[in-house]
Amino acid sequence: MNTKMLGWATVIYLLAMAFYLIRLLRDDEYWGKLATGTAFVGLALHTIGIVVRWWESYRLGIGHAPLANFYESMIFFSWAIMLLYLVTEWRIKNRVIGPFVTPVAFLSMAYASLSPDEATRIQPLIPALQSNWLTSHVVTCFMGYGAFTIAFGLGVLFFARRFVSGSGNPGKGGGHFPDEGTIEELIYHSTIMGFIFLSLGIITGSVWANFAWGAYWSWDPKETWSLITWLIYAALLHARLVRGWRGKRVAIMAIAGFASVLFTYLGVNYLDSLHSYLL
């Protein structure tokens, strides 16, 4: 039931992505409104899907938030991206980031749907995951990943704008794109949000680890990579706030930071990690 709903959400996100792209290419707000509406319907269905999955787990007598394996984490990652994206769109009243962010949300959903049946079934929790910290840890981490995804989308947008306007001239060209200063400002704001969520994710993870593994920090590869990601974004914030970095450099760091986020999330699974139950 829940997997079917999530499957439909995936298809709807694909549509939204297409509409955002058409809007960008034809510069027609009709398609933009359609895209936003579609994305909203997708997110609503996605949310219901997650809630139903949660509820079904209780009906099976193994109730837990659907945040317990790799499949469920990808579903939530996508949810966090779409939620944060729609909030950002509403706040900046501009749909131009859409074509750069919705693909990540769609790909995460699509990749999740390729998981073997066994992974998509609701599983009971192994002892290590039987903790109240599971939900807060996973939610904060993935909200952080989601915000960094928005910053990444903006970073790509930054260069797409330069490509379209044909030069590095920040003042002119770019048509319906926001100007470089605005994009960079948005990167900064998304990065702050991601940085705070990632910090909270690391802190909640440390508290949990102190109960479960007997150490708040074990230099486990996933812990270490989350620290690496944290350091990269800390460098970005300092470079911008104190060294006065602007524009291109900030956009590059947002993209590099996202590569580190992806490795923290996915790449670490190929290293020997205490987090390996997420595979």
Partner: protein, 461 residues
């Protein structure tokens, strides 16, 4: 801060006061951390090193990358970052203090130019009346109001969130306190492991990193260990029932599960692993027309032959030389001592190797005449693997993390917002002009000013 002139021209100070250094250190530490996740660390490293050519292994050892996060050079990097953090913050602090203490200048030139029309309005009564009313409004919304007067013109100023200048120091203090907690933990804390068989107890632990054993000062007994599985075969529960004893007396008991550590005398116990070990051997003893069954663990002794001889279980093997379960026992009777193996499948062994028990006396379970020993079986039992530690740095790290979060809130969600009001006489009427200034979050400031204007007009209407 790069443009800011430091009052101290000390070269060491200026080296550490550079934010460029911060960026370089952050990136180097990140890269070093990457290396540590790729190269096997600690115990896992020794195995990998043996596969390398000796020369290469020597280089790897010299670089200390197999215990990277505790290596002197990594700690040095962390130390440099700490020094950098402290110096930068101290360098910057006077600037923030100046901003914090700066007197409001409500009569500054240009402040009331280009104000939107809704922020400049006429009021009933005299300038003095209007100023007094506005002062009330500001007091209500902002607490305290400063007043300045020059001739007939009155300036009022109020502000909020001046603390936001210090958010960044709170964040940095948080990081420093976390580092302090880690240092405290590594100096005053310890970290080890102990395996306790079901029914057995331990009075010491093995410290991590091959640092030897440590006595706990009390005994930990594992009264029971349970592991449960779901139908799918996934583990459901690991549970150890522990008793803590001092001088043979039970002082505390508790149930230890994953995510639910136990603490005794400041030392914490965590459910970490478990395993199976050969437990009690079930021996049959035949002789003098009697047959007895005895259960004993390795190292246990019992008497036979009416107390004339003592049997000690020397070793218990689940599968000795691929001949199945076997127990080595030693027998002492007066000044006579002998030892031999008792196999569970002795009949099958003799069938395959005729005459083995007479050729190899060690395999002869009838060596102590007239008794003959047999092995009914070995009952495997569980042991529980506990992680044991004490880390007095934990509360410090927790305090640091709280500071960090508080600092984020101050830095990113608060702002210093000043409101200035000029009350003067224009065309014979009192006129109010409301302006503002902030270090960030101009939207919030606009909202506040709108509120003040509405409040003032609502009251006078």
């Amino acid at each position: 801060m790069q443009e800011q002139k430091s009052p101290k021209k000390n070269p060491v100070w200026s080296f550490f006061s550079s934010v460029r250094l911060t960026l370089v250190l952050l990136i180097i530490i990140a890269l070093a951390a990457v290396v540590g996740t790729v190269i096997p660390q600690q115990e896992a490293a020794n195995e990998s090193l043996q596969k390398l050519p000796p020369a290469l292994a020597g280089i790897v050892r010299a670089l200390q990358v197999t215990d990277l996060y505790r290596s002197p050079w990594f700690l040095l990097l962390m130390g440099l970052l700490t020094a950098n953090l402290v110096v930068c913050s101290l360098n910057r602090l006077p600037v923030s203090l100046r901003l914090y203490r700066r007197k409001p200048e409500p009569d500054r030139a240009g402040l009331y130019e280009d104000l939107p029309p809704e922020r400049v309005f006429a009021a009933q009564g005299s300038v003095e009346d209007a100023a007094a009313r506005m002062e009330q409004v500001l007091k209500k919304s902002h607490g305290s109001v400063e007043r300045k007067q020059d001739g007939e013109t009155v300036w009022l100023s109020a502000h909020r969130g001046a603390w936001s200048y210090f958010g960044v120091y709170v964040i940095h203090a948080g990081v420093l306190v976390i580092i302090l907690g880690a240092v405290i933990g590594s100096i005053l804390g310890f970290d080890g492991h102990v395996n306790i068989p079901e029914g057995g107890s331990a009075d010491g632990i093995e410290l991590r990193g091959g640092k030897g054993e440590m006595k706990l000062g009390f005994d930990v007994r594992c009264d029971d260990f349970n592991v449960e599985f779901y139908d799918s075969g996934m583990p459901k529960l690991y549970r150890s029932d522990l008793s803590f004893l001092k001088g043979g007396e039970i002082r505390a008991r508790g149930v230890l599960m994953v995510n639910h550590p136990l603490e005794f005398e400041g030392i914490r116990f965590y459910q970490s692993t478990y395993g199976q070990i050969p437990g009690e051997a079930v021996l049959s003893i035949e002789g003098k027309g009697q047959r007895a069954v005895k259960r004993a663990r390795q190292g246990e002794r019992f008497a036979i032959d009416g107390g004339k001889a003592h049997v000690e279980i020397l070793r218990i093997e689940g599968n000795l030389m691929r001949m199945g379960p076997a127990v080595k026992i030693g027998i002492t009777a007066g000044d006579r001592a002998l030892s031999f193996w008792v196999f569970k499948f002795i009949d099958a062994i003799e069938e395959q190797n005729p005459g083995i028990t007479s050729q190899v006396p060690q395999f002869n379970a009838g060596l102590y005449k007239p008794y003959r020993f047999g092995l009914e079986g070995i009952e495997t039992s569980f042991y529980t693997g506990l992680k044991v530690n004490r880390d007095p740095g934990v509360p410090v790290v927790g305090a640091g993390a709280s500071l960090l979060v508080a600092g984020f809130l101050l830095t990113f969600f608060s702002s210093h917002r000043q409101v200035f009001v000029r009350v003067d006489r224009r065309h014979g009427k009192a006129r109010l002009s409301v302006a503002g200034r902030c270090n960030r979050d101009a939207v919030k400031l606009d909202r506040e000013i709108g509120q003040i204007v509405r409040l003032y007009r609502g009251e006078t209407a």
